[in-house]
């Protein structure tokens, strides 16, 4: 069933969009990522103009992350205080990122920088997670290994300590703030919620327990993407509500299934899956950069 999108001004298959939304929603519920890093390229691939793909993708992420975070609230796996600190940093970072983006646009190298950002960050994070989670899985199979309950890293000696009860942490607020800022910058440049960077950063840099990472990440993503949606709608008129609704229908169902599935899987297995997914997307993007494209030419139409 073809449907004409009022803002994007293209006609697309409605079922394809629902399916796409479902797939991304599943990832969202399972891994605590918004799915922006998947939905934006996928929408682009089916012929949606890039600016509209980014803005509408953000709106779809709001829906699936609300859906996901509510399920986590019920299971009490959201650290609201940690989420709030990350969010504060995220909004600052987002503003910074938009500024950097504008500069890049003036220089005319946005596409390249965005693509390189994807390849570098996805590659680093994916590799790090895979290595770490494979090691963790081996450890859990070996009953003689006992995990230290407190890992004292350099971040724990910083001032301004705060209790994050749900995470069982007593650390300085500066590291989570910085993580928030960094994720916000990248999110704005790459047009994503930033979950796939934040989840590993929370686990490996802040030492947040895996059990609350997903819910807390979704909590932060909900607000950042909501902010992004309204910003895009107001400044560029690029949110296509018809497209968003179709993606959302699939997305919210997918997010619920993902969250349910996630509760049954073991944390280490979940992390391996996410690592593999991240590496897969990274590999695809890297190939696009290195292989000769089918057509050397491309067209960009000016924004109206």
């Amino acid at each position: 069933m073809q449907i004409f999108l009022p803002i994007a001004e293209v006609s697309v298959n409605a079922f394809t969009l629902v399916g796409l939304g479902g797939l991304v929603g599943l990832m969202s519920g399972l891994f605590g990522v918004g799915g922006g890093f998947l939905i934006t390229p996928l929408l682009f691939f089916i012929g949606i103009p890039p600016a509209i793909a980014v803005a509408t993708g953000a709106n779809q992420v709001v829906a699936s992350s609300v859906s996901g975070v509510l399920a986590h609230v019920k299971r009490k796996t959201v650290d609201f205080r940690m989420g709030g600190v990350l969010l504060a940093g995220g909004l600052v970072g987002s503003g910074l990122g938009v500024w950097v983006f504008t500069i890049l646009q003036e220089v005319g190298q946005v596409d390249l920088v965005v693509q390189l950002c994807y390849v570098v960050f996805l590659g680093l994070i994916g590799a790090m997670m895979l290595q770490e989670s494979v090691r963790a899985l081996r450890r859990s199979k070996n009953p003689t290994y006992r995990k230290r309950s407190h890992q004292h890293m350099w971040v724990h000696r910083w001032p301004g300590k705060m209790k994050f009860r749900a995470s069982g942490l007593y650390i300085s607020v500066i590291p989570p703030l910085l993580v928030g800022v960094a994720v916000g910058v990248l999110a704005a440049i790459m047009g994503v919620g930033g979950g796939f960077i934040m989840v590993p950063a929370m686990i490996y840099l802040l030492g947040v327990p895996t059990k609350v990472v997903v819910g807390t990440s979704l909590f932060q993503i909900t607000f950042v993407t909501a902010f992004t949606t309204v910003m895009h709608a107001v400044s560029y008129n690029t949110v296509d509500i018809m497209l968003a609704v179709l993606l959302i229908v699939g997305g919210v169902v997918g997010a619920q299934i993902g969250t349910t599935l996630g509760a049954r899987l073991r944390a280490e297995q979940l992390r391996i899956l996410l690592a593999l997914l991240v590496l897969l997307v990274c590999g695809k993007l890297a190939l696009d950069l290195f292989l000769r494209p089918d057509d050397l030419y491309s067209i960009t139409t000016e924004a109206r």
Partner: protein, 294 residues
């Protein structure tokens, strides 16, 4: 600045039409002025005036009608078919000479665009060179009663900008590349593969040099605006008469309402999009909770 642009354009024109003779026939457009944008009404007026001077009144005239003069874009819009039909009006017997030919063009409003070329730099493919086009139609279909090269002379093509490469010929700003031709060729190639630019040679049916019909299919990915239809009557490669008719392509109903809201009340629209997302997310969560309990 102006002279530089003119010189560049003249250079490109010379490159594009190598076989073109230097002495243009009377009534030919002179390009000794700023880069023309398409469509340029003043230029067209002068062309029409020139034709009127050369011939008092065409012996043969086109009278035509369109099956519809407006296209409504709804949510389920999946393209549209337009039948263009008509007859040749004449008060004398059919003149001797080569048979009459018809060319029909349907053209969407033009928008500026940029064509990029990728190049390998340090192992990766990146956009390096670009050509900016001041105005290119979002849709352009040409239907003819025979092969273009046989039925249309080049100078007449240039005068009316009938064939696609000519319809696009309007560069925005100074050309940053040595040769822009591959860029415009790529634009046509890419848009042809999307069905946005079309040349259907021989698709116009002409009966007894008097009646004709052409079916033009408008694709699903249309943009809104005032479309233009032109019907050219040709004999011996020369344009005898032109008939013009508008087609109004508009969004209607929900499509129109959403589009207007997005541009007139963007904050409200943004908040509405957000509300839809939040309600859907919350609704799904609530529904699944009920489902699990049941």
């Amino acid at each position: 600045m102006r002279t530089a642009l003119t010189a560049l354009l003249a250079l490109w024109l010379a490159g594009a039409a190598t076989a073109q003779e230097a002495d243009a026939p009377a009534g030919m457009i002179e390009y000794g002025e700023p880069v023309p944008t398409f469509p340029d009404p003043s230029q067209r007026q002068r062309v029409i005036a020139a034709i009127a001077k050369s011939k008092d009144r065409p012996v043969e005239q086109v009278v035509a009608g369109l099956s519809r003069d407006s296209v409504a874009i709804t949510a389920s819009f999946d393209g549209s078919e337009i039948l263009i039909y008509g007859a040749i009006k004449r008060e004398t017997p059919i003149p001797d000479g080569p048979p009459l030919q018809i060319i029909v063009t349907v053209e969407a409003p033009s928008r500026p665009l940029t064509i990029w070329r990728k190049e390998r730099k340090a192992g990766i493919w990146i956009n390096t060179e670009k050509v900016e086009i001041g105005a290119a139609p979002g849709f352009y279909a040409v239907a003819t009663s025979g092969p273009m090269s046989d039925i249309l002379q080049e100078d007449w093509d240039r005068r009316y900008r009938i064939s696609l490469p000519l319809a696009l010929r309007a560069y925005a700003g100074k050309l940053a590349v040595d040769d822009a031709v591959p860029f415009t060729e790529a634009l046509i190639r890419l848009r042809e593969s999307n069905g946005l630019y079309r040349l259907d040679e021989g698709s116009v049916k002409l009966v007894d040099q008097t009646l004709f019909r052409a079916d033009v299919r408008l694709p699903a990915n249309l943009i809104e605006g005032d479309y233009k239809t032109r019907i050219f009557l040709l004999r011996d490669g020369q344009v005898m008469d032109v008939y013009r008719a508008p087609i109004d392509v508009r969004k209607v109903g929900l499509e129109r309402w959403l589009y207007r809201l997005a541009f007139d009340q963007p904050l409200l629209y943004g908040l509405m999009s957000l509300a839809v997302a939040v309600i859907a997310g919350w609704g799904a969560s609530a529904a699944f909770r009920k489902l699990r309990r049941a």
